[in-house]
Symmetry: C2
């Protein structure tokens, strides 16, 4: 389980998309949400779009590994959509905020790897939050306040990447993935392998 968190406007979505395109062993966790689909969004690919009662039923039944309310909409991670790929030997990428990360650690696996992505500067963050033409000033102000709140949790993450150049950030996440897969305690079968090398 690999978690990417960042304030909105730090470039996380672009990084996640690039990583997924380059790493066949990695699959994206698809969240459930109660918000309406935006133009072009596909149910089951971008999100599972659920009615509020369905979402609340899943919460009550413990079928969500984490869930949160953002701007009056509910978001959550369906448990079965995570456990199936993990059982099949794949790694799963999560795009959740700091609260989601805490819940995933508690409800899923304590050995998840968490990465916090920071924007390169205050000015760049401001610029990126303004570039979505459809956003009102009020929305941008709320986003900036939310970004500062989210960033206050950077110290709860295993790794921190400052996103100066997307290519460098993608390489950085790939290095973290490669390294974590080489950790002794994540490799199964090493005991038998060493035995075979020693001729036992």
């Amino acid at each position: 389980m690999l978690v990417l968190s960042s304030p909105s406007g730090a470039g996380k979505s672009t990084i996640a998309r690039e990583i997924l395109g380059r790493d066949a062993a990695l699959t994206m966790s698809v969240s459930a949400t109660t918000r309406s689909p935006r133009p072009g969004e596909v149910d089951g690919k971008d999100y599972f779009f659920l009615a509020l009662p369905t979402f609340e039923h899943m919460v009550a039944e413990g079928q969500l590994l984490e869930h949160a309310t953002v701007f009056d909409n509910r978001y959550g991670t369906p448990r079965e959509r995570v456990e199936a790929p993990l059982a099949g030997g794949r790694d799963v990428l999560f795009d959740v905020d700091w609260q989601g990360t805490q819940q995933l650690k508690q409800n899923a696996r304590a050995d998840l790897v968490s990465i916090f992505i920071l924007p390169p500067s205050h000015g760049e963050l401001e610029r990126r939050l303004h570039t979505r033409a459809q956003d009102s000033d009020e929305v941008v102000r709320r986003r900036m306040a939310k970004a500062a709140g989210e960033m206050s949790h950077w110290a709860e993450y295993d790794y921190v990447i400052v996103n100066r150049l997307v290519d460098e950030s993608v390489t950085a996440v790939q290095s973290i993935l490669a390294a974590e897969r080489l950790r002794r305690d994540r490799q199964t079968g090493l005991h038998d392998f060493v035995g075979a090398i020693c001729g036992r």
Copy 2:
């Protein structure tokens, strides 16, 4: 501090040389030894070649971060040759066995990163131990026994790499280095950096 350990014949020296050539921020720890220089070996580059009394004086004075006896020769890591590059912001690579790794953890820094390199198979290890023409059968047998003894300590390391292809193993070590440098607790100045982004 990055430690590479492996049984003799696993290809560790080749990997270390490649990494050092590619990573300017990494410097090799030069060991002190009481054995005689082999043809071509340079004092202060390959080893510090010391007389036994000098070596024993350094042990008594606590000037060695680790030391060991291998095939009747003494080997050790001079403390000042490690602390100077670390203080200058460089990383230091160590080629020591499992006992050296334990001593480095105790005498230097608990946050050192340790990698164990395994040969790809029993046959390949045997082949590599035989390819040095100047070695007698007795030396090869002792090496194979020593290799098995060294390999029994693989589970004390943070990472394990099976050296199938040198290029892949070098990339693996580079990924580990890159990832460890991105660990939140190894990056200094993040607190102030985040404050600046938030406009504080």
